[in-house]
């Protein structure tokens, strides 16, 4: 148990004590207590920066289930640490923001902060865990706490819908990931990520390699809202805004990015990984930016923008993985630029997207609406909010002097490098990558402008707002201000960040190239294609924004049935109705149908396995001779059985059953089993008497004495079962592999003092069976007694009423 373990588990401890604090100190906003957790962890984690920047890593192990190779081991390297710093840093800001955003009086704050702390702890554990099972545990915990947070206002229908949708999709991916983890264990015989990375060379050759890759990517893509699993993110916007800012822009949705980055050293350098990650990322980037433009709700716009930016980071991770193909040298360095862009944009996106969400929250809080059609002209009323918004948006659009510009330039460098690749069939499709990226960036520019200008410029419409608009309190403005300062600060001193954060992260993603990265980020690097691409974006983007009214109607022409959300909804509905149909089809409620299934399955499974495994064999060498009278008795047996089946009267059937039982007793006599014969006779008589008792009580009206009609299917099944059982009995007789153990019981007199061997077995050698049979009879007797008594008691009470 190291200090790091304690700090990782600190949020869970807070989750336990928050409700107590909430009840004990009703006057103080609970958020103030909560703030200590992320701030403290952030401060503690900062102490690891010098170590990680120096290229070192540490590992703290704590055995949890050692026999199953499951350890709560924490591994601190550049990737994990920077993620953890983002989580706790933005977490602190979000908690601070939520203190002012959520009302102390109206909201159930203890619930909110418990969920939030659960989430924070889970996220920290996820990014720092070295053990895959523990990682999966935290992964699912983030899904669950996210589910709880989205449905925080659970009285709203939309919240519940969004929570359910995100739960279904992310847990689906989580299960796929679990399968991938198990496959990892099969391939590498370890759950430790570090040990798996050291075996990367052997893993590539394994048969399960591709399957593991796809399952792992399913997990990553669902969590990070990649196409076509992005549909849960816009619906998750029903959560309170601090949650959206924290989970759905800065942390949880980056868990998939983290996973992809973490496993790049294993999968990177293969063609499948390169193409899947790059293509899915680019499609997500393009699709998200395209759809963001048409949104009328600010949060929905930001949700699609998040999707698009996550796609950008994902595609960069895919393109950068090509660096591993070369395994070092200049070409590798060239392509590692994409990884640099990915990690850089990851940090940048967390800063500006967090601040934008908080801005939207402020606008919502102070005007009562997030609808772009109702908003406008807020610039002079909310100047500080406007400033923050314009910094965030322009950074998102990729303009100087904000950090988004730097990462967008690097992004273009990455795409151009990827386009010039001559491996993985890139000659054919490579040229598409920069084009798609560029078009997507144009749309990004357009929606960034929409976000700022439609909200803060234009005509002020006070009559359409629910509240009187005014500037937000300072407490609410402070967190986005901090993030905005970071946005500008990173632009001017990117290399500080690069040295302390980005280089260690790249070292984790591309371990073979460690120490040879060429990372010097500069805002101006001459008249290169990237710059012209940015200028093109600005020009075309401005033109598109100014002519927005002329082409926005195009979106309305897209049929609703074509959307993925529609496919999800109708898919769910169809799954429900389909499974109901299947259930109704076979669960008829009739015992005779279920018996049919049982018998048919018996015939199919037992018969088929005997037939296929060549189990039928008939051995006649040690069969006893049959006498004539035994044959006649057997004929009587068959006759009585036929009488039971064919008769049209119930009483005749009972007599037939009696004859049957007596003849069976007679066979016991002939086969020298006196005790069995005695018991059989007594039991047969009693049961015949019981049948007669029952008949008297059968209701008169529904009495059907005409017998059942012939059912061909039943006949076939009955014949098949009879034939099968007969064949099995005959085969079993032919398959006597070892002598019976009955010789042992011949010493019954010496061992138990009994000359009746059957009774000696029943009461001495195997008396436990007898004891339990006595219990069975006792239970049956008590059962019959209580059934009759209860029925009589009920009848009596009915009469009293």
């Amino acid at each position: 148990m190291s200090w790091l373990h304690i700090f990782i588990l600190l949020p869970f401890l807070f989750a336990v004590i928050i409700p107590v604090l909430y009840k004990k100190f009703p006057k103080i906003h609970t958020g103030w207590f909560v703030l200590a957790a992320p701030a403290g962890i952030f401060a503690y984690l900062l102490s690891y920066i010098p170590m990680v920047a120096g290229g070192e890593t540490t590992m703290y192990s704590l055995p949890w289930i050692p026999s199953l190779d499951i350890h709560f081991s924490l591994y601190v390297d550049g990737l994990g640490l920077i993620f953890a710093l983002l989580i706790t840093g933005i977490g602190s800001l979000v908690v601070f923001y939520s203190i002012y955003y959520l009302s102390k009086v109206r909201e159930a704050l203890h619930n909110f902060y418990v969920y939030l702390m659960m989430f924070m702890g889970a996220m920290l554990g996820l990014v720092l865990s070295d053990n895959l099972i523990v990682l999966y545990l935290f992964w699912e915990l983030t899904s669950i706490s996210s589910f709880l947070l989205i449905a925080y206002w659970y009285a709203r229908r939309q919240s519940r819908y969004g929570a359910q949708k995100s739960m279904l999709i992310t847990v689906f991916g989580g299960f796929a990931m679990l399968a991938a983890i198990i496959m990892f264990y099969i391939m590498g015989n370890t759950f430790s990520i570090r040990e798996l990375l050291s075996q990367a060379d052997q893993l590539v050759q394994h048969d399960l390699f591709i399957a593991t890759m796809i399952l792992l990517l399913l997990g990553a893509f669902t969590k990070s809202a990649q196409f076509p699993f992005h549909i849960w993110l816009p619906d998750a916007m029903e959560a309170p805004t601090p949650v959206s800012a924290y989970l759905h822009s800065a942390t949880m949705v980056k868990a998939g990015i983290y996973l992809v980055a973490r496993f790049t050293p294993i999968f990177g350098g293969t063609m499948e990984w390169f193409w899947i990650v790059t293509a899915v990322g680019l499609i997500t980037l393009f699709w998200g930016s395209l759809l963001a433009v048409k949104q009328r709700d600010l949060k929905a716009l930001l949700a699609f923008s998040t999707i698009s930016q996550l796609g950008l980071i994902m595609s960069l991770l895919g393109m950068g993985s090509a660096a591993l193909y070369y395994g070092g040298g200049e070409t590798s360095q060239l392509h590692s630029a994409a990884i640099l862009a990915a990690v850089f944009h990851l940090v940048n996106h967390s800063t500006f997207k967090g601040s934008l969400f908080m801005v939207v929250g402020i606008v919502d809080h102070e005007t009562g609406t997030r609808d772009l059609r109702k908003l406008g002209g807020l610039m002079s009323i909310m100047p500080i909010t406007f400033t923050i918004a314009i910094i965030g948006s322009l950074s998102m659009a990729g303009l100087p002097p904000f950090n988004g510009f730097l990462s967008k330039e690097l992004f273009f460098t990455g795409t151009l490098n990827a386009a010039s690749l001559d491996i993985f069939n890139m000659e054919t499709y490579g040229a598409l990558i920069p084009i798609v990226a560029w078009v997507a960036s144009v749309f990004t520019f357009v929606y960034s402008l929409i976000l700022v200008f439609k909200t803060f410029l234009g005509k002020f419409q006070p009559e359409r707002l629910e509240k009187e608009a005014h500037e937000a309190p300072w407490g609410m403005l402070l967190p986005p201000l901090v993030l905005s300062v970071l946005v500008i600060g990173i632009f001017f001193v990117p290399n500080v960040l690069a040295d302390y954060a980005l280089e260690p992260m790249m070292a984790s993603i591309l371990p073979p190239l460690e120490g040879q990265f060429d990372i010097y980020i500069e805002a101006w690097h001459g008249f290169v294609p990237e710059l012209f691409m940015t200028i093109g974006i600005v020009v075309i983007g401005l033109l598109l924004y100014l002519t927005l009214k002329k082409w926005l109607w195009l979106y309305n022409n897209m049929p609703r049935a074509m959307t993925i959300t529609n496919a999800y909804n109708s898919g769910l509905k169809r799954m429900e109705s389909g499974s109901r149909k299947i259930t109704d089809l076979h669960m008829t409620g009739f015992v005779r149908d279920y018996l049919r299934y049982i018998f048919v399955l018996l015939i199919m499974i037992v018969g088929a396995s005997l037939f296929l495994l060549d189990g039928f064999s008939f051995e006649v060498s040690n069969v006893a001779p049959i006498n004539l009278y035994e044959m006649i008795l057997a004929a009587v047996l068959v006759g009585a059985a036929a009488m039971v089946v064919l008769t049209r009267s119930r009483l005749t059937a009972v007599i037939g059953v009696g004859v049957l039982g007596y003849i069976v007793a007679l066979f016991f006599v002939v086969l020298r089993a006196p005790d069995l014969a005695l018991t059989q006779l007594a039991i047969e008589t009693v049961s015949v008497a019981l049948y007669l008792l029952c008949f008297y009580h059968l209701p008169r009206l529904r009495q059907r004495d005409e017998g059942d009609g012939l059912n061909v299917m039943n006949l076939v099944i009955a014949l098949a079962v009879g034939t099968l059982v007969t064949l099995i009995a005959l085969s079993a007789n032919g398959h006597r592999m070892f002598p019976a153990i009955s010789d042992f019981y011949e010493g019954g007199y010496e061992l138990a003092g009994a000359s009746n061997m059957v009774n000696a077995i029943l009461a001495d050698f195997r008396a436990f069976d007898t004891l339990l049979e006595i219990f069975v009879l006792a239970i049956a007797g008590l059962g019959v007694y209580s059934l009759i008594k209860l029925r009589l008691a009920r009848r009596a009470s009915d009469e009293n009423q």
Binding site: L628, I632, V636, A640, V659, R672, P674, A677, L692, L693
Partner: protein
């Protein structure tokens, strides 16, 4: 020789049980069937006796006694059922 006689007896008894079964199946009225069942019971007593001699054992003598009692009880039970519709009547109070 004696064994052969016993075998012939066994076969004849088995045939009479078969004939009893014919009556039980065919019997136009329910009483015919009940009598046939009683007949089969009695035939079985005889058959068990012969089998005991044939196997030279006394182990089946209890079976003969029990069967005698049960065949009687069974016939009475059926008779009551046919006569009154119930085997055991409830107390009238």
């Amino acid at each position: 020789m004696f064994d052969a006689v016993l075998l012939v007896m066994l076969i004849m008894l088995a045939i009479s049980i078969l004939v009893g079964l014919y009556r039980a199946i065919q019997g136009p009225s329910m009483a015919d069937r009940v009598i046939a069942l009683d007949l089969i019971g009695i035939m079985m007593i005889a058959l068990i006796g012969v089998v005991s001699i044939y196997l030279e054992t006394q182990a089946f003598l209890e079976a003969i006694l029990v069967l005698g009692i049960l065949a009687f009880i069974g016939t009475v039970a059926f008779a009551r059922f046919i006569e009154r519709g119930a085997v055991i009547e409830r107390k009238r109070d």
